[in-house]
């Protein structure tokens, strides 16, 4: 029994069909609890007022925007090394979810920045690197869409994902060098004391859990769809041959 058994699409379909309702339900629960708790049951911040509550959407979305790319990177590596089709399809499935997360982070950030910084947009390193990340997602998705042969598309997008990851990290630090930041430090970190007060911290954790579960659910469902589309294509071809 190993993880690689689920590289078999049939096994993957069975397992994911079992996971999706659970993770989807938990995601809905966490998001409802976290957002209601965060939006209505926490006090306003003494300086930021009610705008602080955008953190419940902004921080989880930003975390997932980056981690979705990392997941695509891992899935691409698995595809390139072990040639498991499910892995390539999962990477493909994660792309649009990741770009939406990036967009949510950018838009909620703009809504927060307008009253707080007095501007919708600043060429701050964090903001700029998220915009660059958005462009990387666009290129990745466009390359998937442009190539007809599925294996060629999987290979080329995986190579792009690998190279893109290196350049994304490079751009992050290049942008740091290029302009001083306006954005505050990380809201959450493992190696430091908490930066967010407890009242905001616990609903935030619930929201993050909800976003992660939502991401897992969406990626699984989209991967299932890709597998079904691939099967349909194969059946069509077979029907035409016979």
């Amino acid at each position: 029994m190993s993880l690689w058994e689920y590289a078999n699409p049939a096994r993957f379909m069975v397992l994911s069909a079992r996971i999706v309702p659970v993770s989807g339900g938990l995601a809905a629960l966490c998001l409802v609890v976290g957002l209601v708790w965060g939006f209505f049951l926490t006090p306003d911040d003494y300086r930021q007022g009610s705008t602080v509550k955008i953190i419940y959407l902004h921080v989880p979305a930003a975390m997932l925007a980056i981690n979705a790319w990392v997941m695509m990177l891992v899935a691409s590596l698995i595809w390139l090394i072990r040639r498991h089709h499910v892995s390539a399809l999962a990477a493909r499935a994660a792309g649009p979810v990741g770009i939406v997360m990036t967009l949510i982070a950018l838009v909620t950030g703009a809504f927060w920045g307008q009253p707080m910084w007095g501007t919708w947009w600043a060429w701050d390193p964090r903001l700029t690197s998220f915009l660059i990340l958005f462009l990387f997602y666009l290129g990745y998705i466009a390359l998937w869409a442009a190539i007809e042969d599925p294996d060629t598309a999987a290979d080329l997008t995986s190579i792009l994902c690998l190279v893109g990851s290196v350049f994304a990290v490079l751009s992050r630090y290049a942008v740091n060098f290029w302009n001083q930041g306006l954005h505050q430090g990380a809201s959450l970190s493992l190696d430091k004391e908490k930066n967010v007060a407890d009242v905001f911290y616990f609903p935030l954790l619930v929201c993050i859990a909800g976003f992660v579960l939502l991401f897992v659910t969406l990626v699984l469902v989209r991967t299932q769809t890709e597998i079904r589309a691939r099967r349909l294509h194969a059946l069509n071809l077979r029907a035409r041959m016979g």
Binding site: T152, S171, A174
Partner: protein
């Protein structure tokens, strides 16, 4: 490999279009900037390093889609892939030929165009140095993008979408060298970083580009 570079250069010169086109495009972009920004020379001299870098970058992009496309269509690339030199070497040779026909001329005409934009006198050296260091990286990254999209019928626009985000670090450090040079500041830090980006791109990307070509030739 030297033969390959020579052949590509010969094709670029004889087939026409490719060789001077980038430089002409660069000239036009620089001519258009004062129309858009107004003819105020002090303002132009402030934005000159950035505009020159951006113009050179876009001019580099212009001829990328033909780097492998013609050889892919007539089967030359299949022959090169089975030739006794590694495909990584072919990619490097192609990128070098591209640089010699676009990056190098762009670097050489940049000072003349800088006069038009009223670049401060102390900035000329660093502008040329930064372009000479940065444009090889632009050609190599472009070769990677061209290798990814060579099998596509209409890859031109997609190629720009893929390549331009990859140009970000090179542009940041290159334009920073040119800007600091023009303002008479120390350039050693961005210059070292630019050299680092160029060096690692030239060392590593041939492998990625050759991998993409192998997939496309399958």
């Amino acid at each position: 490999m030297i033969r390959l570079v020579a052949r590509d250069l010969m094709l670029a010169v004889r087939a026409g279009g490719g060789f001077g086109l980038g430089v002409a495009f660069f000239l036009i972009v620089v001519t258009l900037v004062p129309f858009a920004m107004g003819p105020d020379t002090t303002r132009l001299s402030v934005i000159a390093p950035g505009v020159l870098w951006l113009g050179a970058l876009l001019a580099c992009l212009l001829s990328l889609d033909r780097m492998f496309a013609l050889d892919f269509e007539d089967g030359t690339l299949d022959l090169l892939a089975t030739a006794p030199i590694p495909l990584e070497g072919v990619v490097a040779a192609k990128a070098l030929a591209h640089w010699l026909t676009t990056g190098l001329p762009l670097t050489l005409v940049a000072p003349m165009l800088a006069v038009l934009l009223n670049l401060p006198a102390q900035g000329f050296t660093w502008l040329v140095v930064s372009l000479a260091l940065g444009t090889p990286a632009l050609s190599m990254i472009g070769a990677f993008g061209a290798a990814l999209t060579v099998g596509l019928k209409r890859g031109g626009l997609l190629l720009s979408l893929l390549v331009l985000p990859l140009y970000v670090p090179t542009l940041i450090f290159g334009a920073e060298v040119a800007r600091r040079g023009a303002e008479g500041m120390m350039v050693s830090t961005p210059l070292a970083l630019l050299a680092g980006v160029s060096g690692s791109v030239l060392a590593l990307l041939p492998f990625a580009a050759a991998g993409a070509l192998r997939v496309n030739l399958r």
